[in-house]
């Protein structure tokens, strides 16, 4: 994992402590959402569909610090909404750096260049920039032409100023694996520290309800993307989680692994589902009926989920599970570039992104219309 040694050691020490303490459910990364307001309106996002008075609400720095202290994780991810729109985001980051928390500030980077002066480069602070693929793919994904160019400008400025920068890419049905692989090349050339990947979750509240990947298609897509990988690609994720996305590992969801705190409180049960709120982290652990969640539970809301917030903590926990975890880790190290001739063949299959279909042009036959929406 391309992170500073101090971060690796801190996280490893924390995880070992949890295991030695025999904690069955422990948090790995806190997802701190200080606001829901955003300067994008991505159709596949279900995080910002609120009335104006909720979108105007913000967690104060003190509320953020209380949640961070309560949860106790060494890593804090700050998504949203767009965190750079928070009126005191610099104070929040400063306070978390003081607490020696490793922060991933998740941003679409539209404001990054403009607000970079509010922050100081630190090993504790990483800008995790949302880039959903190459220019056309990203712009369609975030429903904003020009969004890609602004994000790239932000990345360049942050890298130049000495900040740690990673990218996070969410993939939906219709993603072109060759284009995603080319996107990896482009991001690494920009000098980012690593990349993060996830299939999109079928948010109940998202405006778009038609392009969420099912598990079978997710595995095929990620196998085609992540097999035969280039040495230059660095991923800021657990190797076993990436194998899970490729269908090489099977895990059960650990929704408590990345608990979420926002203006409503501690979200039940996870970062993606909103099934109510608890007022304290302990109440979240004690009062959530965990058996009702995860694909294995039969809950239809969890049927397609393979998202990091549910399964990356599972993968990390599995790595620490005695000999089987050790063996899985050794195998992943030996896998090298994950050579796979079938996966290479899959890259030759024709793909037409959903957005390439112009609905203003009349389609002559049903068959051709169907083809346009096939991944």
């Amino acid at each position: 994992m391309p992170v500073p040694i101090s971060q690796g050691l801190t996280v490893a020490g924390y995880l070992l402590k949890q295991k030695l303490a025999g904690r069955k459910r422990y948090p790995f990364v806190l997802m701190l959402e200080p606001l829901f307001r955003c300067n994008l309106a991505c159709a596949g996002c279900g995080k910002i569909q609120y009335p104006a008075h909720i979108l105007k609400s913000e967690l104060s720095p003190e509320e953020c610090f209380k949640a961070v202290d309560e949860c106790g994780t060494p890593m804090v991810s700050i998504p949203g909404g767009e965190p750079l729109m928070h009126s005191q985001i610099d104070k929040i980051v400063e306070g978390l750096v003081e607490r020696k928390k490793y922060i991933y500030l998740c941003t679409n980077a539209l404001l990054l260049k403009e607000k970079l002066h509010l922050f100081k480069p630190s090993k504790y602070l990483t800008f995790s920039v949302h880039v959903d693929g190459q220019r056309e793919h990203h712009d369609f994904s975030v429903c904003r032409e020009g969004g890609y160019d602004q994000a790239i400008e932000g990345i360049k400025a942050a890298v130049k100023a000495g900040f740690r920068v990673t990218t996070n890419t969410t993939l939906f049905d219709g993603a072109d694996p060759n284009s995603v692989r080319a996107h990896f090349d482009e991001m690494m050339e920009l000098g980012v520290e690593g990349m993060m990947l996830s299939p999109g979750y079928s948010y109940d509240k998202a405006p778009d309800q038609k392009h969420f990947l099912g598990r079978a298609r997710t595995r095929r897509l990620f196998r085609s993307i992540l097999s035969n990988r280039k040495k230059s690609w660095k991923f800021n994720q657990s190797v076993l989680f990436l194998e899970f996305l490729m269908g090489k590992q099977h895990y059960k969801c650990t929704p408590w692994g990345m608990p979420t705190y926002n203006v409503f409180g501690w979200q039940k049960p996870c970062y993606l589902l909103q099934d109510g709120y608890a007022d304290t982290f302990q109440e979240l652990l004690d009062s959530t009926e965990w058996q009702n969640y995860g694909t294995e539970s039969g809950n239809p809301k969890c049927a397609n989920c393979m998202v990091h917030s549910g399964y990356e903590a599972s993968a990390v926990d599995a790595q620490l599970n005695g000999l089987s975890g050790l063996w899985a880790t050794i195998k992943s190290a030996l896998a090298g570039n994950y050579e796979d001739a079938d996966a290479l063949q899959m890259l030759n299959e024709p793909v037409k992104p959903v957005h390439s279909f112009n609905p203003l042009v009349q389609i002559s036959s049903t068959d051709s219309a169907m083809e346009e929406t096939r991944a």
């Binding site: 309106a41 008075h53 979108l55 369609f140 032409e145 309800q209 099912g214 909103q274 049927a303 609905p359």
Partner: protein
């Protein structure tokens, strides 16, 4: 007007059946089918109707107005609900539109419910965006985007 239910999610029965058979075989995760409930005023004649309507209100992407049995009206966003054995032990938690307080209201105290706020996701489908994009391209009107709603 009838309102959507939880079972409307994931292509209704088909997806639930698929998931029950083997979620690992799912190719596409069908999303939630939503009806437009903006402006809906549900009947609250029975306990079942009250429970169902408040579940819809919890799922709604806009504000609702609750009228208490003492006549007080509260407009706001329901962010939590907890259901107990009786209406008296079931409650919603709500952030009022005009204050920063958090209110907890028992189902037994609720006389009426109305979906008064705008559905925050209405009209922002991917299809609408793609259509807008191509329309802009066809007319040469410049860069296309879907903008977040103004907050005022």
């Amino acid at each position: 007007m009838s309102a959507p239910t939880h079972s409307d999610r994931a292509g209704a029965a088909q997806s639930t059946a698929n998931a029950a058979l083997d979620p690992e075989q799912l190719e596409i995760a069908a999303g939630t089918a939503r009806q437009n409930v903006e402006g809906w005023v549900p009947e609250l004649a029975s306990d079942a109707e009250i429970r169902s309507a408040l579940e819809q209100a919890f799922e709604y992407r806009g504000d609702v107005t609750i009228t208490r049995k003492d006549g007080a009206k509260i407009e706001g966003y329901i962010f939590d609900r907890s259901t107990g054995d009786s209406l008296a032990t079931s409650f919603v938690r709500l952030l009022p539109k005009d204050s920063h307080s958090r209110l907890k209201i028992s189902y037994a105290e609720i006389a009426a419910l109305a979906f008064t706020g705008r559905d925050a996701a209405a009209g922002k489908s991917y299809e609408a965006w793609v259509k807008k994009y191509w329309a802009k391209k066809t007319t040469g009107e410049g860069e296309a985007s879907i903008q977040p709603d103004a907050l005022e």
